[in-house]
């Protein structure tokens, strides 16, 4: 199935070739959780501070069993802030 992966700030370096605007549409297994996708792209799990699926925060304890659905958008940041 296809999902959209967005890796921002210093995580941009983990995006595969072909990504544009920190975004790429990827093909993944039908049953896949957040951590499995991050592992696929070598994103260090311990640095993944802000993990958001369709704009909704996924807390750390749910990331290894939160299953992605077809068409989902997974966006991930390291620790960032502003104001």
């Amino acid at each position: 199935m296809k999902i959209t992966l967005k890796l921002y700030a210093s995580f941009g370096k983990y995006l595969p070739a072909g990504a544009r605007n920190n975004t790429i549409v990827i093909e993944v297994d039908e049953v896949v959780n957040v951590h499995e996708i991050l592992n696929l792209y070598s994103v260090p799990l311990e640095e993944a501070h802000l993990v958001v699926v369709n704009g909704v925060f996924v807390c750390e304890s749910e990331r290894d069993h939160h299953l992605l659905q077809v068409g989902d958008t997974l966006a991930v940041w390291p620790a960032v802030a502003g104001g």
Binding site: N21, N22, V80
Partner: protein
């Protein structure tokens, strides 16, 4: 100590300048900067005074840690009554002038009256004099800075000035120091210009002395600097991406006010984001961002130094803008980008530079422009009104033209200088003004971040994010994650942020430290430096006292609970996309409880019991 214990009082009407001792009993109750200066304002200024009359006063104030070696100890504040809101204004800034003033030996400068001709104040340690500024009037902040520097032949002067917008009465004019740091909000620059005060130039060589326990202070400061360095946000995230990293975060979460807050996501957010500022551009292969920059004593250095593409239409024939300048912060990129639907990073960077050059609050300017664009597209504003400018959403040309006009206070720029509330009322569409207490709200849509709705509605200086930045908790998870879409627990969260922020502001430290620090990290530094026992509990109580004092000023000025509200759009028009789709800002679910936990009546008035508990007479 560590207050310098000295105030400089400058009567602009008579020209008399006199030192006086700082009221140390007030310092023990209000700490410094925002709190202490507000205490002086409440004592000396009738809350109902016309903000632009000689009877209003303008106070520039340091905190007790300003100018010390504490990390980020470079903040100063400007406190006055705002011409934009009619409420108390406190606008703080970093850069270097606060620390310089402290090194000259002053905790505070109080300006009163009005000069009969343009002047600037020159301070060199104990010596202070008002000098003629006739030749500076009608020039920009940057030109003023250069002229004063040349006149005194002193490259180490630190200068704060107002630009042409303030002289022309733009109601959200800023006081810009060190060329691109600003006391930006609520029109403090407009008040300064109304007094015929063009600039303050400071040279301090005395140092900061009188720390209560110098050795302990040095030790505490070193420990807490280490905390900032090791924290992923203050050690890496902010220095690398600045506040602009939020552009994609807030957009992804569906809380990005777009097209005058008619939408909550901007389809081109990435084009004007912190990430985009790092990407090489086609013309010269250089990115927008040159480097980061820090204010006095700052070990975070979130500031941006940027260039505009020399081939961009805004500066193609203007070599004076080809060099480095202060770059985009998130709020400015939002207001002049997303809120106006402009995805041209160079145009927004240029507009930001103009805001610095002539002292305009970019939040209020961008949000006012967005309201004007909506009125133009709806036919309420015509080409005749705008002087021929097609004020359409997405038009970078319109942004560039209008910011130049507003900077000089001419043409339609004069109208935009009224601010969103007055402009929308003038053209018959008051409901299109995205303001609270007449101040434009910033870059977070309360439909997607519910706590920010209560934050805006109850902010003592009108809509503002920096009075209780619950985004930190609701979005970023600092100090702990809360759900942005629920209202439960938000009154308590907002009150806690408001009180803590009032205390941090009043210390002279930067609120950005609180992405890594709590009051547990801050209290030991204040306690080592200042007379008295400064515990976390005392700081919270001090913050609460300051908050209630500001509230009482506003009530006496004529504001009421009716003003604790949000624009109708946020309360009645549901978000159309994102996680908050279908939701409105549920202020009514939070406000009564907020009043209750504040110890206020149902009408939002601090009760006698609350005032007594806080020592407010």
């Amino acid at each position: 100590m560590t207050w310098s214990r000295k105030i400089l009082r400058v009567n602009l009407t008579t020209g008399v300048i006199a030192p006086e001792p700082l009221k140390m009993d007030w310092a023990q109750k209000y700490l410094g900067q925002r709190g202490l200066a507000s205490r002086y304002l409440c004592e000396e200024v009738d809350p109902q005074v016309d903000a632009l009359s000689p009877e209003n006063k303008l106070i520039m104030a340091n905190g007790p840690l300003t100018g010390t070696m504490a990390a980020t100890g470079g903040r100063y504040a400007v406190v006055t009554k705002s011409p934009l809101t009619g409420a108390i204004a406190c606008s703080n800034s970093g850069g270097f002038i606060g620390a310089e003033l402290r090194n000259a030996g002053w905790d505070m400068v109080i300006f009163e009256g009005r000069s009969d001709k343009p002047v600037y104040l020159h301070i060199e340690d104990d010596k202070a004099e008002l000098l003629d500024a006739a030749d500076l009037w009608g020039t920009s902040v940057w030109a003023t800075d250069e002229a004063i520097r040349q006149r005194h032949q002193d490259p180490r002067l630190r200068i704060a000035a107002v630009g042409r917008s303030a002289e022309q009465g733009c109601l959200y004019s800023a006081i810009v120091n060190d060329l691109h740091r600003a006391a930006g909000r609520s029109g403090v620059g407009t008040v300064m210009a109304s007094k015929n005060l063009k600039a303050v130039a400071v040279r301090g060589s005395l140092g900061v002395s009188g720390l209560k326990d110098p050795q302990r202070f040095m030790k505490e400061v070193a420990i807490q600097k280490q905390v900032l360095a090791e924290n992923a946000v203050t050690g890496q995230g902010l220095p690398t991406y600045g506040t602009q990293v939020l552009m994609n975060v807030i957009n992804e979460m569906g809380a990005m006010p777009t097209r005058n807050a008619s939408q909550v996501q901007f389809e081109s957010a990435h084009s004007i984001s912190g990430e985009a500022m790092h990407e090489p551009r086609e013309s010269d292969g250089k990115p927008n961002l040159t480097r980061n920059a820090g204010c006095f004593g700052c070990t975070i250095a979130c500031g941006r130094i940027s260039t505009v593409d020399q081939t961009h239409f805004s500066i193609k024939n203007k070599p004076e803008y080809w060099g480095n300048t202060g770059g985009l912060e998130y709020e400015a990129a939002w207001s002049m980008g997303s809120d106006t639907a402009i995805d041209d990073l160079d145009a927004v960077t240029y507009a930001n530079a103009i805001c610095n050059e002539d002292g305009i609050d970019p939040i209020s300017f961008g949000a006012t422009l967005a309201a004007a664009m909506e009125m133009f597209e709806a036919g309420d504003l015509t080409l005749e009104d705008t002087g021929g400018i097609e004020l359409r959403f997405g038009s970078a040309e319109a942004l560039v033209k209008t910011v130049e006009l507003t900077a000089r206070g001419v043409g339609f720029g004069k109208e935009l200088g009224l601010g969103s509330r007055r402009l929308c009322e003038k053209y018959g569409r008051p409901e299109l003004s995205m303001t609270v207490k007449s101040q434009e709200f910033p870059a977070y849509d309360p439909r997607g971040i519910q706590g920010m709705g209560l934050t805006y509605a109850t902010s003592n200086r009108g809509a503002c994010h920096l009075r209780s930045y619950t985004v930190s908790s609701e979005v970023l998870g600092v100090p702990e994650k809360t759900d942005p879409l629920v209202t439960d627990g938000k009154p308590e969260l907002v009150m806690a942020f408001q009180d803590a922020t009032a205390a941090v502001d009043s210390s002279g430290l930067c609120v950005f430290t609180t992405f890594a620090w709590t009051l547990d990290n801050i209290a030991p530094q204040i306690d080592a430096a200042c007379e008295g026992d400064w515990s976390v509990e005392r700081l919270v109580e001090t913050g609460e006292r300051i908050w209630n004092m500001e509230r009482r000023f506003n009530l006496a000025a004529g504001l009421t609970a009716v003003d604790d509200t949000l624009p109708k759009r946020l309360l009645t028009e549901p978000a159309q996309t994102g996680p908050a789709k279908g939701m409105v800002a549920r202020l009514g679910d939070m406000l009564p409880q907020y009043y209750e936990i504040r110890g206020w009546s149902e009408d939002g008035v601090p009760t006698d019991e609350t005032c007594s508990r806080l020592g407010l007479s």
